[in-house]
């Protein structure tokens, strides 16, 4: 791990496309997510303490815990970074002069290529599995505890909740449509282990997905997705979420026609890193919660 946890949290951005996108999803989980950045600031926010000596002790313990590879925190961070790790050059270009104003997507249509539904399905389900595995790594339960994960989804709040909201909206509803859950399930059923092996994200993270081979890992991905479909369905119906409704909110920062949603999905995929951003925040929070209890 090249960067320290202090630098990672200190360097989290306060503006840009990722932040705009997450803020525009606030209507699904009002007031849940504040973009807390900065290591010391996060310690203060999470613990409610402002004594400098205490903050120092908490910070140092959190650093020790993070740098101990056996504790799983680094694996979790790596997962959040890896599932988000598409080419960000386009996003950087989009951002160069556009912070604070709307980005017309028309100009970018030539440079982004929508993924076929099957690739989008694999993307969505792999992100979900990464969440599950990272959750287990951070909280210290065995890596295949689908039941524990599903139970605690109901407890998700703050940056963890907005990450799952973004997953449903940006990687589910926009690219795959209102029936994205059934589409993803049938897409997975039609995927064979060889196809999964060709996916670059899978190649990167397959070692931490439970299962001895691509076939059993594919089964695990299917089981994971199947077990959270109830939670996702509830989120969609409780908020009457539709692709149009989501896009209506995203239109605060990106101009897009309704018939170009697959391009919007591709654009957001390369231009944002919401998994890494909120994942770093989740990780910092859990580290600090543990550190303050241990000192």
């Amino acid at each position: 791990m090249s960067k320290s946890i202090v630098d990672l949290v200190d360097q989290l951005p306060t503006g840009g496309l990722t932040i705009s996108m997450l803020k525009s999803l606030d209507f699904v989980a009002p007031g849940e997510w504040q973009n807390t950045v900065g290591f010391v600031n996060t310690i203060k926010t999470v613990t409610g303490e402002d004594d400098e000596d205490l903050i120092q002790q908490i910070g140092e313990r959190a650093i020790y815990l993070f740098n101990d590879k056996s504790q799983g925190y680094q694996t979790a961070l790596w997962l959040y970074q890896t599932v988000d790790g598409t080419d960000k050059a386009l996003g950087a270009a989009a951002l160069a002069n556009k912070v604070g104003e709307k980005i017309p997507l028309l100009g970018f249509l030539n440079s982004v290529t929508p993924k076929p539904d099957k690739a989008q399905t694999i993307d969505l389900t792999l992100k979900l599995v990464a969440e599950l595995v990272a959750f287990c790594q951070i909280n210290g339960i065995p890596g295949d505890s689908i039941g524990d994960f599903v139970a605690s989804l109901g407890e998700y709040s703050g940056e963890s909740l907005i990450r799952m909201v973004a997953l449903v909206c940006v990687d589910g509803l926009i690219p795959l449509g209102p029936d994205f859950i059934s589409k993803a399930i049938s897409g997975l059923n039609q995927t064979n282990p060889q196809e999964l092996e060709k996916n670059s994200t899978f190649q990167n993270i397959k070692d931490v997905i439970p299962g001895n081979n691509a076939g059993s890992k594919l089964n695990f991905i299917g089981e994971s997705f199947d077990s959270v479909k109830g939670w996702m369905n509830k989120l969609v119906s409780a908020n009457n979420l539709t692709p149009q409704k989501v896009v209506g909110n995203l239109q605060n920062f990106v101009d897009i026609a309704d018939d170009k949603l697959d391009y919007l999905a591709a654009f957001l995929d390369v231009a944002t890193n919401y998994y890494e951003h909120t994942g770093t925040q989740t990780l910092a929070r859990r580290l600090i919660e543990r550190a303050v209890a241990e000192i």
Binding site: T47, E49, Y64, D68, I141, E289, V292, E294
Partner: protein, 169 residues
């Protein structure tokens, strides 16, 4: 040829400027630099002692939730376990047990303790925390809502199975 050499000279000059400026840019030492350095120099396993008790051993000693309170386990690691205490859907407090073998200064602070809770030395830390030391184990409660006061923390500390914890090896 001359032109090419000129390019090289310019390139070499620019490179040295870059190296010099980056090398000479004064970077104020951060308050956490020392901890970062120490914790990465050692081999893995430095944050949690090999002999630390598994978190699953702690879980069964947590107080049972009643009177409208809800207990939700959050982290269970070697040497550490934590649960949230909720009421009416709101986070009220965090309950934890940790093995101080990994972090000796945690146990050392109890030497200044002047009061006891449940028969064990107790300290208040910061604005939100109360802790007791049971053998080598620290039991700590952190308020997460202003309605949960220091006296609530003391009450809930006594609700842990402290005898069970004292017998744990």
């Amino acid at each position: 040829m001359i032109l090419q050499r000129g390019h090289r000279v310019v390139a070499a000059f620019l490179l040295s400027v870059v190296l010099l400026t980056t090398a000479c840019t004064p970077k104020a030492p951060g308050r956490f630099d020392q901890a970062q350095k120490e914790s990465t120099q050692q081999q893995k396993g430095q944050a949690v002692a090999k002999t630390a008790t598994q978190g699953s051993e702690f879980n069964k000693l947590f107080p049972k939730a009643s009177d409208g309170y809800q207990r939700v386990y959050t982290q269970e690691k070697k040497g550490f376990a934590e649960a949230k205490l909720k009421k009416g859907g709101k986070d009220i407090a965090l309950l934890s047990i940790s093995d101080t073998t990994s972090n000796s200064s945690a146990a050392a602070k109890f030497s200044k303790s002047t009061k006891k809770i449940g028969g064990y030395p107790a300290v208040e830390v910061g604005k939100t925390q109360t802790a007791i030391l049971v053998g080598k184990y620290q039991v700590k409660i952190l308020s997460r809502d202003s309605s949960f006061t220091a006296s609530d923390r003391a009450d809930w500390l006594e609700k842990f199975n402290l005898n069970g914890l004292a017998k744990l090896k």
